[in-house]
């Protein structure tokens, strides 16, 4: 079963859940990122996501491997949507299963933070008065390539 994918079709959290359910699991933590209409009072009409698809899939798989190293009993599945998203549609869906809830919560939080750091996917806001590619959200002047590569070798 596919566990990490990028798709132009609607993303359904149950597909990620099905990919991680197993008899040893007692807890599933999921995270769903959805298109928000209002950000600080400004209205978004819709979102557009673009990805470097084959690399993005590899990076999602890498996050899954990192999770399994950090929390050996946890299993992850992640799907990310691309193309045009209407308000409240799912952009990203993450499901983590584990025997107990603590690791599941930690790993799902870890997954979304890593997605926002290393997965080549970009969001474009479409407002009433214009558009903008979003990026550099952490206000880093330049990316720290070295740091990302070191982490990959851990």
């Amino acid at each position: 079963m596919q566990k990490f994918w990028i798709t132009a079709d609607p993303v359904e959290i149950n597909d990620c859940i099905k990919a991680v359910v197993r008899p040893e699991a007692g807890a599933i933590s999921t995270f769903i990122g959805i298109a928000r209409e209002y950000t600080k009072g400004k209205r978004t009409l819709y979102l557009e996501y673009e990805a470097y698809v084959p690399m993005a899939v590899k990076q999602l798989e890498r996050i899954g491997n990192e999770i399994q190293l950090k929390w050996p009993e946890a299993r992850a599945s992640i799907a990310h949507r691309i193309g045009r998203l209407e308000i409240s549609e799912t952009a990203v869906a993450i499901a983590i299963s584990s025997p107990h809830r603590d690791e599941a919560f930690q790993a799902s939080r870890y997954a979304i933070e890593r997605i926002k750091e290393i997965v080549p996917i970009w969001k474009k806001e479409h407002w009433e008065d214009g558009t903008k590619w979003i990026g550099d959200q952490k206000e880093q002047i330049a990316y720290k390539n070295e740091k990302i590569m070191e982490e990959a070798e851990e």
């Binding site: 673009e50 990310h80 997605i115 926002k116 590619w133 990316y143 990959a152």
Partner: protein, 78 residues
């Protein structure tokens, strides 16, 4: 030949999502300064990470014939 991939704001600025460049055995930095300086995208290129053949790479990596180098602007998925 080396293929360059561009995304998001960088793609819009350069006006292309792929560039085919007749080079080999050249670092990413050198390729950038020699072939991409004309597009007025220096700030965006400074901010970008780079990937070679779908893996993140250092900017002093030497590109070989057939390599695909991607300039990855700050990501905003999720």
């Amino acid at each position: 030949m080396i293929q360059v991939l561009l995304f998001a704001g960088l793609k819009d600025k350069v006006g292309a999502s792929t560039l085919d460049i007749q080079e080999e055995n050249i670092t990413i930095d050198d390729l950038r300064h020699k072939h991409l300086a004309a597009y007025g995208a220096d700030n965006l290129l400074d901010q970008a990470m780079v990937a070679v053949n779908e893996e993140y790479a250092e900017k002093n990596t030497i590109l070989k014939k057939g390599d695909v180098v991607a300039f990855v602007p700050p990501v905003s998925g999720g």
